[in-house]
Amino acid sequence: MTKVASMRDAVAALVHDGDVVAIEGFTHLICFAAGHEIIRQRKRDLTLARLTPDLIYDQMVAAGTARKLIFSWLGNPGVGGLHAIRRRVEAPAGGAPSGDGDPAPLELEEYSHFGMVGRYTAGASNLPFFPLRSYFETDLPKANPLIRPIKSPYGDETVYAVPPLKPDVTVVHAQRADAEGNTQMWGLVGCQKEAAFAADRVIVVVEELVDEAVVRADPNRTVIPGLIVDAVVVEPWGAHPSYVQGAYDRDNHFYRDWDAISREAATTQAWLDEWVYGVSGRAEYMEKLGAERQASLRPSGTAPSGSVDYGVYK
């Protein structure tokens, strides 16, 4: 059964106002195309979960889609802060946040990286919590009372627990999938597998749609089985300005540019008008970005893996 759908149809059918949404991918494979479609469809009151909210959630927060963030590291890697989010979080000089006319404060639920990975893992494996050796003697359990100490049933040791995270919908970007959603990726795999298995609904977005035989020829590379996938969207360059190992590089210039664009609410909205609301979808966005920029992001050479022989056993 084919699950191939357009981005517009997949987001319309599977992302609802008020949902907990996880667009995962650690630096690598962040699906900006899905985030932009959610903005265009003016989804509201979302809880956005990601280890690193990154530029995509800064844009989605600026566009008014979110009421809450669940995260572990809130920054623009190697550049600085996420200004649209900070405007919704920081106290204005000399007072409490949210004066007249300001958007409502954004709710934050904060963990560490391992805590977030553990939350998805517990969600994916139907466990009531995930135990970890972290948070000792820090202020994080005070900041987030959902981080709780738990005594080992087998001795005197105490560790910390985090609760399961089960997104309503997880979006995963990958190099390739077949029409049923059997999805293969390589490079940094972050916690996409855990986030997908933890979710009620899964949208897979790929650079390339391949035949089932391609997947079956290399089963070790399959990260997400079609069994848990609701829609397959074929969207080349769908991760830009994030990257896809072997296909295109991270657009570090854009990550730096965003720092200036996002410092003022007005310039942020102007950018959204031009690059999100002003285009029909990813194809038009990439056309606007231009062939020269695209060419500059291609890898400087190839580095193919060796092939392995799985053998035939009859």
């Binding site: 630096t27 979080v89 904060e110 820090t138 940094l188």
Partner: protein
Amino acid sequence: MSEPVGGPGGPEAQAFSKSEMMIVAAARELAGQRVCFVGVGLPNIAVNVARLTVAPALELVYESGAFGAKPARLPLSIGDPTIVTGATAAVSMFELFSFYLQGGLVDVGFLGAAQIDRFGNINSTVIGDYEHPKTRLPGSGGACEIAINARQVFVIMRQSKRSFVDKIDFRTSPGNLGGAEAAARIRREEGWLGRGPSVVVTDLGIYHFDDTGEMRLDSIHPGATLDQVRETIGWEPKVAEPLATTPAPTPEELRLIREELDPEGAYTK
């Protein structure tokens, strides 16, 4: 190369920047280490200098999931594709944090900070009140589990009265808590693998931690003065007697940084 601080040395000594001194000082501290958890920016250059000089067996681990990375360019982010191509392993973050870090395989973890206190406790979460922060910083990321599970922690940061403070606003990553004795007891009772912070490299000098768990200035960089150290720290710092002078970067160390690792000067200006 901006603001060369130059410095004393033989006739062959070259001018160098404060960042270059910090990178070289941190790299030398990695002599003999095996597995190092890398952060972005200066630590990333420092570990690569170490790999090419004093610690050829050093394995670089990035929290994004690369083990045994051999980056061919200086990545802006810790999830750059260059850390994957040619690495020993690309693993999930679950494996990285569970088996490599919590499993006790990481010898040194690098941390940065917005604020640090005399016992090496670190804040990278907020300036001001947590609920209504004056400045919202990135938060922990992997820092608090690195502080607890890496065998030792290195810190690289510039000194200022705003960052070297008597009392941090939020404890994101534990150091020696209120002192070495209590910290050792708590680490034992709670089963931490880490022994806490061991080195702080600043733009002015190198600190280690004494028997009380407090930072002590053991070496001052060429060109820096004790007055500058005291003006940029929020407590009266302990100073080793005698105080060493950090050897200036060698021509080879500077060549590695300028020609191989950061030819555009993105991090070293």
